[in-house]
């Protein structure tokens, strides 16, 4: 049993304010420390990356193509689908008197070869015009033109000479 006449001294408001202030200061310092640590780590990481790149450059690894570089290039090239615009042009253009017989895409030289039959020169001319429409320069060219069979009725050629045969045409486009 403790008989005591002096009341226990409770911390004053000023003391509590000091404690709260110190706690806040500690929290700010802790946060600042963490931020500084993160920044230092980022700088160190960047430095390591630069050093590794410098080592690679010094070893000349970037100058000599790796054995699979060509395969990689081809794979990337195919993945980019460069033939897509060509196929889209062929899909969107349709002219009466033109019948496609084959489409060949050579990815090795980026060349599209289209075999078709044209009933007359005008149809062929329209077809070429529509394929090349919107291009700064003509990209589709007639590679080969050969008569295949006669068809009945008069036909008007581009040159004004009447033709009565179906023409086998080969078009090429580099892409």
């Amino acid at each position: 049993m403790k008989i005591e006449f002096v009341d226990p001294v409770l911390p004053s408001r000023r003391a509590w304010a000091c404690v709260v202030g110190l706690a806040a200061l500690a929290a700010v310092l802790f946060a600042a420390g963490r931020i500084m640590e993160a920044r230092v780590a980022a700088i160190e990481s960047e430095g390591r990356a630069r050093a590794a790149a410098a080592e690679l450059a010094k070893a000349g690894l970037h100058d000599e193509p790796s054995p699979w570089a060509e395969d990689m290039k081809r794979a990337l090239d195919r993945a980019a689908l460069p033939e897509a615009p060509v196929l889209r042009e062929l899909e969107t253009v349709a002219v009466t008197g033109i019948q496609l017989t084959s489409i060949d895409i050579d990815m090795g030289i980026h060349m599209a070869t289209v075999e078709l039959q044209a009933d007359n020169d005008q149809a062929l001319g329209d077809y070429l015009d529509q394929l090349n429409a919107g291009m700064p320069a003509a990209v589709w060219h007639v590679e080969r033109l050969a008569s295949a069979q006669s068809i009945p009725g008069p036909q008007q050629s581009l040159t004004g000479v009447s033709r009565a045969t179906v023409q086998n045409v080969t078009l090429k486009r580099h892409f």
Partner: protein
């Protein structure tokens, strides 16, 4: 400033003052005529210290008088019990100028120990010893509280009813503990015709016919330091055995 302060134990009685821990010279004791002279002497002692002082003040029984708030006092709660204790404190304690009352935890239907001191005593001690700049009162307790604790512990351990008395230089405290619970406590001023309170001890003991044990203590100012009694000591007197 208080980080390098000196801890001092003070005993302050009506006619006796003491001090421990002020310097390497050891305990100081002095008989005084009254409390005013005692405070003046304490002030002189404290002024010799170069360092600020943090003092624990132990009061003699005359300056810290116990009384019992009866079980049938009519209080309905702790607040009412405290108000009653404050109201009757002057009757028991005889303090002028208002009393400061300490009240034990109050329980319905049980007697409660209360202690009264003069309201101005702590500040008077502080003022006499040099003021707040160099002297601070960390604690003010009755010295007899240590004897009471010792008896309570023994009574609780043995589950016995113990009557006890303590003779100090200027007063006499007695009480009764039943299985660790204070059931009675009172103060008697020292009588001129009975300087060592022998007759008073016997008279009080006559009223304890139902108690199972009686212990009489006497305060000894110059006794060796003890872990229980911070300053001074209590000598257990087997008065019943001596009388037999």
């Amino acid at each position: 400033m208080w980080a390098r302060s000196r801890s001092v134990e003070l005993y302050l009685g009506q006619t006796l003052i003491g001090c421990r821990g002020l310097d390497a010279a050891g305990d100081r004791w002095a008989d005084v005529a009254d409390i005013d002279e005692g405070l003046a002497r304490l002030g002189e002692w404290m002024s010799t210290s170069p360092a600020p002082i943090r003092a624990r003040v132990w009061l003699g029984s005359t300056l810290s008088r116990p009384f019992i708030l009866d079980a049938n006092c009519g209080a309905r709660n702790t607040a009412e019990a405290r108000e009653l204790a404050v109201a009757v404190a002057s009757d028991f304690a005889g303090q002028e100028g208002g009393s400061k009352v300490w009240l034990a935890p109050w329980r319905v239907g049980r007697p409660t120990l209360a202690v009264a001191i003069s309201k101005s005593l702590p500040s008077a001690v502080e003022a006499a010893a040099g003021g707040r700049g160099t002297f601070r009162v960390a604690s003010v307790r009755p010295w007899w509280n240590q004897v009471l604790d010792a008896v309570i512990e023994r009574s609780r351990e043995q589950a016995r009813s113990i009557g006890w008395t303590l003779v100090e230089s200027d007063g006499f405290v007695h009480g009764r503990i039943d299985s660790g619970v204070v059931s009675d406590a009172a103060f008697e001023a020292r009588k001129v015709h009975d300087p060592d309170s022998t007759q008073l001890r016997r008279r009080v003991a006559v009223g304890w016919l139902e108690v199972e044990d009686v212990e009489h203590f006497a305060f000894t100012p110059g006794a060796a330091p003890s872990p229980v009694f911070a300053i001074g000591a209590a000598t257990l007197i087997r008065i019943n055995e001596a009388a037999a």
